[in-house]
Amino acid sequence: MSVKDKVILIIAEQGLLDVADVSLSATLEDLGIDSLGVVESIFAIEEEFDIEVPFNANAPEESEFDISSVATIISAVETLVAEQT
C-alpha cells in the first residue's frame, strides 16, 4: 500500500467515510474532521509511518506540516517518510 493510500485510509477512518469519498482536493473541514479530529489524524499518521510530524496542535495552520488539503497532507507525509530513510 502506498503512502497516499495509507493516508487516505487514515483520514477516511477519522471522518467515518468510505475511502472513495476522500478526494485529494478536499480539506479536512470538508470531510467533517474538526480540530481534535485533525490532532487524532496526525497521531494516526505518526503511528502508521513511525515519523514525527512537526505540528502545533493549537494552531495547525501555522505549522510547517501543510494540512490545507488531503493532497498537501500526503505530500508532506511522503517528504517526512523520505527524510527518515
Binding site: V39, F43, E46, E47, D50, E52, A57, N58
Partner: protein, 365 residues
C-alpha cells in the same frame, strides 16, 4: 400570536422579507420536509441545497442568498442566521407557556401565599404560606414552592420543579422539569480529624486516622438567583451553610448541573450538562464550563475562563484562561502533554534500540 406572515417574521427577526410577503408561516422544518406554510430553515449552503428535495414555498435564508434561484414563493433573509433562530423558534413555539391564566382546582395554594396577576398554576402544584410569586408566572403540574420563597415576574417553572424555603429568584426565571433549588448542602463533619482531612493535606497519606461516623451540618443559608436565569432538567442548586448560594443574572445551566453549597457564580455564565461545582467555589462573569466539567471546592475561576468537556478543575483559574483535561491545564499545554503521551511508545522503542547498541559495541550504528 401563533400565525405569522413573512413580513411579520422579517420584522421580528430584524431581517428582510422578499417575494410574496403576505404568505403565512405556521411552522418550521428542515428544507427537504418543507411544504405549504411550513418554513424551510435553509440558512447555510448545504441546507439550501436540500431545498430541491422537498416542496418548500417559504424559507429562512442567510442574507445574500439568491432566493429567486431556489424556486420559492417568498423568503426571509437574515444577517445572522444563528441568532435569527432564537426569534423564529420563539415565535413558532406553541408549547411554550401554553394554556390560559388561572389556578387549577387541584392545585393547593396555602393561605398567605401571594400570587401575582396573570399566573397559570397547573394541577397538583403546592404553594406554601409566605410564598411571593411575581406576575405572569407559568407553573406546569407538580411544582412545589416552599415557605417564604420569592420568585420574580414572568417565571416559567416546568413540571415537577421544587423551590425550597426562602429561596429568592429574579425575573424571567426558567426551570426545566425536575429542577431542585434549595436542597440542603452536602455538608458533614467527623468528631475528630478525619482521614479525608489528612489525605487532602498530605496528598495521599491518611495517617492512620480512625474511621468515624459523619455528623450533619445543617444549611442555614438559602439560594439567591438573579434575573434571566435558566436551569436545565434535574439541575440542583444547594443552599448555603451560613450565607446564601448565589447565582448571577443571565446564567444558563444545562441538564443535571449540580451546584454545591455556598457557591457564588457571576453574571452570564454558561454551565453545560453534568457539571459539578463543589462547595464554596467562586466563578466570575461569563465563565463557560463545558459538559462534565468538575470543579473542586473552595476554588476561584476568573472572568471569561472556559473549560473544555470533562475538564476537572483542581486549582484556581485566572481570568480568560482556556483549560482542558484532568488535572485541568491550559488547553495548549494539555494538548502538548497528549501529543507527548502518544509519542511515548515510539520514544521507548527508540531508547531500547539505543540501549542495545550501547551495550553491544560491535553492533553500533
Amino acid at each position: 400570536m401563533s400565525e405569522y406572515n413573512l413580513q411579520d417574521l422579517a420584522k421580528a427577526l430584524n431581517g428582510q422579507a422578499v417575494g410574496d410577503v403576505a404568505l403565512q408561516v405556521t411552522g418550521a422544518c428542515e428544507p427537504q420536509d418543507a411544504a405549504g406554510s411550513l418554513m424551510a430553515i435553509a440558512t447555510s449552503q448545504s441546507y439550501a441545497e436540500r431545498l430541491q428535495l422537498g416542496q418548500a414555498r417559504v424559507a429562512l435564508l442567510a442574507e445574500g442568498t439568491d432566493w429567486q434561484a431556489l424556486n420559492l414563493s417568498g423568503a426571509v433573509l437574515v444577517p445572522r442566521p444563528r441568532f435569527a433562530m432564537a426569534g423564529l423558534t420563539q415565535a413558532l413555539d406553541r408549547r411554550w407557556r401554553s394554556g390560559r391564566p388561572g389556578i387549577h382546582p387541584q392545585a393547593c395554594v396555602e393561605p398567605g401565599a401571594q400570587i401575582g396577576a396573570g399566573a397559570r398554576i397547573g394541577a397538583f402544584c403546592h404553594i406554601a404560606a409566605g410564598v411571593v410569586l411575581g406576575e405572569n408566572a407559568w407553573l406546569g403540574s407538580h411544582v412545589s414552592l416552599a415557605e417564604g420563597c420569592a420568585i420574580g415576574s414572568d417565571a416559567t417553572l416546568m413540571e415537577g420543579v421544587r423551590i425550597g424555603a426562602d429561596v429568592r429568584i429574579g425575573a424571567r426565571f426558567v426551570a426545566q422539569p425536575g429542577v431542585v433549588i434549595g436542597a440542603d448542602g452536602f455538608s458533614f463533619v467527623t468528631r475528630e480529624r478525619s482521614t479525608i482531612e489528612n489525605v487532602r493535606e498530605t496528598l495521599g497519606d491518611s495517617k492512620g486516622a480512625k474511621p468515624q461516623a459523619f455528623v450533619r451540618i445543617h444549611s442555614l443559608g438559602s439560594v439567591v438567583i438573579g434575573d434571566d436565569v435558566e436551569f436545565g432538567a434535574n439541575s440542583c442548586i444547594d443552599r448555603g451553610t451560613i450565607r446564601d448560594t448565589q447565582i448571577g443574572d443571565g446564567c444558563k445551566f444545562d441538564n443535571l448541573a449540580q451546584i454545591g453549597h455556598n457557591v457564588k457564580i457571576g453574571k452570564n455564565c454558561m454551565i453545560c450538562a453534568q457539571v459539578g461545582i463543589a462547595g464554596s467555589s467562586v466563578l466570575g462573569n461569563n465563565v463557560v464550563l463545558g459538559g462534565q466539567t468538575g470543579v473542586s471546592d473552595n476554588l476561584f475561576i476568573g472572568d471569561n475562563a472556559i473549560t473544555g468537556g470533562a475538564t476537572k478543575v483542581l486549582s484556581n483559574i485566572p481570568a480568560g484562561r482556556v483549560m482542558l483535561g484532568y488535572p485541568a491545564m491550559k488547553m495548549d499545554a494539555q494538548l502538548e502533554v497528549y501529543k507527548n503521551l502518544r509519542r511515548l511508545p515510539r520514544m521507548l522503542k527508540e531508547i531500547a534500540r539505543l540501549k542495545k547498541s550501547l551495550s553491544d559495541p560491535d553492533n553500533r550504528h
